[in-house]
Each structure stands twice: as C-alpha cells, then as structure tokens.
C-alpha cells in the first residue's frame, strides 16, 4: 500500500470519524508513559480525505489521543491517499492492532464487522482475510462476534473485560435492554466463572419466565438486590449467596426438602468420617452411606458408631419420606 510519511497538525485529524477504530477508546496508562518517554515508535495511520477536510484515522486512535493529552501540536503519520480502498484500510487497521497484541473479544468483533462489510457478509472470505492479518478467527466465530456489536455497551464492556463469555452475551440478544444491562452489571460485580454465568443466567431467565417478569425486574427483587448491593464486598460470598438464593427460588419444593434433610442429618450427629446422602432429587428411596477410613481399627470403630446410629430414632426421621405427600 502506497503511503507517505508526513508531519501533520493534530488539529487536522478527526478522531470523531471512528469507522476503522478497533481498540477501546481509553488508552492504557503504560502507552502514555511510553510515548512521553520514548516518543512515537509506531506511527499512526491516517487517510487523506478530500481537500480542506481533516484526516481520518485508520490505525492509532489511542496514540493520537495520548499525543493530544501530552500537548503535542503535530505528529508524524503514515498517510494513505483518499482513494485507498476500504479493504486496504481495514487490513491496515487490523494488522496494526492484531500483530502487536492480542485483541479482546470486543475488538475482535469490531475487526470482524469491518471485514464482513468489505466481504459483503461472506464470513468464510472474511476469515481468510483475517488470518494473515494476525487475527485467527473462523467463520462461525465471525458471525457470533458481529452479533455482539448489536448488544448494549454494558455488555460490550463485560465481554471486553472477560467478565462475561461471548455465548452468554449472545443469550442476552432476545432480552430487553435493561435486562441485558442488569445481567452485565451482575457479571461485572461478581465476576462469576463461565459455568456460574450459565447457571445464573439460566436460573434468572427461567424464573423471569415463570413470574412473567423481565430479567431486570427479577434482579431488582429484594432477594437479589440486597445481595448485589451489599455494603461489605466479598465477591465469592456474594456469588455463593446469590446462587443459593436463586436455586431456592427456582426450585422451592426441592430446596425445602434438601434443607429439611440436612437439618435432620445434623440431628443424627454423624461422626466426621461418615456421611449419608439423599438420593438425587429424592427420586428413588435409596440413600447412600459413606465411611472414610484408613485403618481396620477405624473401620471397627465406625461399625460400633454405626450400630448406635441405627438404633437412633432420628435415623427413621431422616429416612421418612412423608414429605412426598405434602410438598
């Protein structure tokens, strides 16, 4: 690509035209320090527009922003002619970003959308173009990434910061905006694992369906808002309480039975190395006893304790299935 290297007044660069912007808007502190200390090592790319019009940025938005903040009047840029094609501009924008660092999912989404535009929506062709530019994305991922851009900004940020998986973000597509934003906020606050995101999303969505409410309305209920707006911040604890609360609301009968079982088990005062588990979902009537031991003497000791447990009326209470008749 033919480009000149020119010294340009920063006033002559229009950063509001962000059609080729891939990076996030805010430059990291390290970039400011580096430019301040060592100057511009890698030159921004701009495109000449028609005469008397400002230059359009193709790559280097954050560098130009830093230069402005540092009070530089001029900056050396590589200048593309006005006739440079969109494809050429996108190639430079992507390569300039992707070759030097790994792009987050939101940045990948912007790059994918640019390539899809120049490829007339052909994801396979877009993927073929992306590879040599340092962006290894397959057609399926390209289609997903471009859908991300239609979601609210709060979701973009949660995905960009790795607080929400791409698949969960896309699950928010059919939701109203406030629900998508509320769920993004939850992920930002509690930073759940991908599995927990899926569990929480599914639980909230299903609860919302059952209650004929939006997901945002469910999250605004006191059960959840108290957890999410707790004054003492302990994310792991908050997440644990939120999951338990959600489970109790989603499965009220089952969770009541489980809690009653645990209480009755407590009453039985089992030794530490023994446990009795209820059948999954209380579906069958077969309970499981676990004994952990390492020496024969320990096992003999357990056998004696077990004999005493078998005589304990609390055991009958634990195994009593009359809860089945009165949910």
């Amino acid at each position: 690509m033919q480009a000149e290297t020119l010294l340009i007044f920063l006033d002559a660069i229009d950063t509001r035209d962000n059609r080729y912007q891939i990076s996030d808007s805010d430059p990291p502190e390290a970039l400011s320090e580096s430019i301040d200390e060592a100057g511009l090592i890698s030159l921004p790319w701009v495109q000449q527009q028609e005469a008397d019009k400002a230059f359009r940025v193709v790559a280097g938005f954050r560098r130009i922003t830093v230069c402005r903040k540092l009070g530089w009047p001029q900056v050396t840029c590589r200048v593309l002619p006005a006739g440079a094609s969109k494809l050429s501009c996108w190639k430079i924008a992507i390569a300039d970003n992707a070759v030097t660092r790994s792009l987050n999912l939101l940045e990948q989404a912007r790059a994918a959308a640019g390539l899809m535009e120049v490829c007339d929506g052909d994801a396979k062709q877009a993927a073929q173009l992306a590879g040599p530019l340092g962006l290894r994305i397959n057609p399926q991922l390209i289609r997903k990434l471009t859908r991300l851009l239609a979601l609210p900004g709060a979701v973009h940020q949660a995905v960009a910061q790795n607080r929400m998986s791409l698949n969960i973000a896309l699950s928010l597509e059919p939701m109203d905006e406030s629900s998508a934003v509320a769920f993004a906020g939850l992920c930002q606050n509690l930073n759940p694992t991908v599995n927990h995101q899926q569990e929480i999303f599914t639980g909230l969505y299903e609860l919302a369906r059952l209650q004929d409410k939006s997901l945002a309305d469910v999250l605004a209920q006191s059960d959840f808002s108290e957890i999410l707006h707790a004054t003492r911040k302990d994310r792991r604890r908050q997440l644990q309480v939120l999951r338990r609360t959600l489970y109790n609301l989603r499965f009220p009968n089952l969770s009541r039975s489980e809690a009653a079982f645990e209480q009755k088990k407590k009453n039985l005062r089992l030794p530490e190395n023994m446990n009795i588990s209820a059948p999954p979902g209380f579906e069958s009537n077969v309970y499981t006893l676990t004994i952990r031991f390492s020496q024969s003497r320990q096992l003999c000791d357990c056998a004696e304790k077990l004999a005493a447990i078998c005589r304990n009326p609390e055991l009958e209470d634990l195994l009593d299935r009359s809860f089945n008749e009165n949910p």
């Binding site: 009968n253 039975s257 979902g281 579906e283 809860f323 089945n324 008749e325």
Partner: protein
Amino acid sequence: MKIRKLYIEQGAADYPATRHICSRLEMPGQIIDNPESVYQEIARSPDPEKAGKSILLLTRNRGAFLRDCPGTSYYTCCGYQILHIGTYCSMDCAYCILQAYFHPPVLQFFVNHAEMETSLQQHFAKGEISRIGTGEFTDSLIWESVYPLAPRLVELFSRQKACVLELKTKTTAVDPLLGLAHHKKTIMAWSLNTEAVIANQERGTAALGARLTAAEKCQKQGFPLAFHFDPMILYNGCYADYENVIEQLFSRIDPAGIVWISLGSFRFMPELKPIVARRFAASKIIYNEFIRAIDGKMRYFKPMRIQLYSRVIEAIKFHAPEVLVYFCMEDNEVWQKCLGHTPAEPGGLPMMLDQRAVQICGLSGQFPAG
C-alpha cells in the same frame, strides 16, 4: 394432515397403499433411492420439527412391525406392544417427545401392509393375551385422511380373540370405524388434557369437547374405551382444571365401558427442552420444578407428581370407583402413595391390564409367561 411434499422410497412405489395415497393427495410423489436426502432436507430447514410435519415419506418398514414399548428401567411400564405403522405426527404439541426422539422427525407411513398383516397373524396364532397399540410413535388416527388403515386393523383384530388393539388419538376421525363389527377387540382411546393445555400446548388437535363427542359415538357403537391423562402438566389452577375434565368425561361416558385410565406427568429427555424453547416461545411448561430422574429424563419433583395424581385419582374414583387407573412410567412409591398398592404380583402391571382386557374386551387365550 397438510402435506406439502410427498416422497416415495423407490421400493415402496408399487404398493397399493402408495397408489391410494398419491391419488388421495392428488400430488405427484417424488421417487427417491435413499431417504437420506429427505432427512437432510428436513434437517437443513430452520424449523426441522415443523418441516417434518408437512413432508410425507412413503416407505417400507424393514424392521419389526411389532415391538415392545420402549419403557425405561426403574419405572413400571405397562408392557404393551407397538404396532409400528409410521412415525411422527401432523399435530403439533409443545411437549411431544417425538420432536426429539427422531433425528430428524419426519412423517413416515409404512406401506408394506401385507407384511404387517403377516406379522399380526403370526402373533395372533400364538394365542397369547396381548395389548397392541399404534399410538406410540405417531397418533393412531391422523393417517385416516390419506389412507384407511384403522378400519382394516379393526377388522383384523375382530377376527381373533387373544389380542386387543388400542387406537390412541387426539383427533375425532372415528366415523369410518363406527359401523364396523369390532367384537370389542379394539379399544378406542383418547389422550385427554385440560382445556388450557389443549389451547396453549397442543396445536392442531381436537378440542376436549370434540374428543369426548367422538368417544361418546364410539361407546354407542359398543367400542371399549380408554383415556390417557398424559402428560399431565402442572400450572396455576391445574388441579381444578383436571377435575373439570374428569367431570366432563363422566358426564358423557359410562364408566362401565372404560377399560382403563392411565396417568402420567410431563417428562422429557433433556434434548427436548431447547426444542420447546425455540418452537413454543410462549410455553412455560419446561420451566417448572424438574429433577433429572433415574432414567435420565426430566420429571416433576416427586412430591408434586404425587399431589397432582392424588387429586386426579380422587376425582376419578368419585365418579367411577370401579375403573382401573394405572400410571405410565412411575415407581412403586408413587403407586403406593397414590393408589394404596403397587402393581400386583405376579405379572405386575402388564398382568393387571391383560386381566382387565380379558374382562372388558372378552379376550381369551394364554397369559404371557413371566
């Protein structure tokens, strides 16, 4: 049945049933060498489960026509046998397991009826009491608009004494059967549900009143009847609604002519859930309190099933204390708590139902061993 495309498997082209159906549908059938192309066409569709309801494949049943009901372990199965006449259904029920059971789901009608009749005759010749139904992999009567199979089956069963045919449906397509000499060897059975479930979860099925009218007509013609409350669905107000269905049922049907009533609650393979969510966006049936049961299917938490069954059984017994009520795929705990007994030994539930068929339908023959 609204058929948009008709495919005929090469080897099925010359069967009388094929010719009959082509003429009835007034549609040229496309001859295919391999059904795979039809499966691919359906699988590629944005809504394969819907596409499969308007594409009819006429083919031969190359496997067994008579099969055991695919009951799962742990839960008690009624042990009836399936007469495999075709697959899938033109009606569209949200809860229908066939959407996830066939890959992809496609309307197939087996046209090699001579072989089917041979299988049946061989079975009849054993003289063993058995219950045979066509309503497991399809609705028993949806095919009547394109091919009169049910009258032929009624006639075949009427000529022997050991086996009873159960035609299970959500339609009202009984008129061609009414004048037949069935000799009580065909049980006309309806799946019943509340009017809310029928309106919201069963697209294209007959209304409750219409089903009961059809059942009334059959009872007047002396057909033994059966009713299946399956799948029963929990929702706000469902108890009163089910009680109302039972009231309507017994206001129109004489319980003395009912062979059995079965109860089963909504259960599904986990694979069905995303299909219902996608195809029936307004339906909430998959969001209730389900647990993964011992056979891997999702079932309502057991106390909820027991409560629902108990209410419905109480209502049935109020109107018809003598009628035989059984559970489809439930365990001994449910039986004991809802009916006060477990399926009687020896023989269990299959024997209970066989004996009932002997009593009401006049079967005679040997009871199956074990």
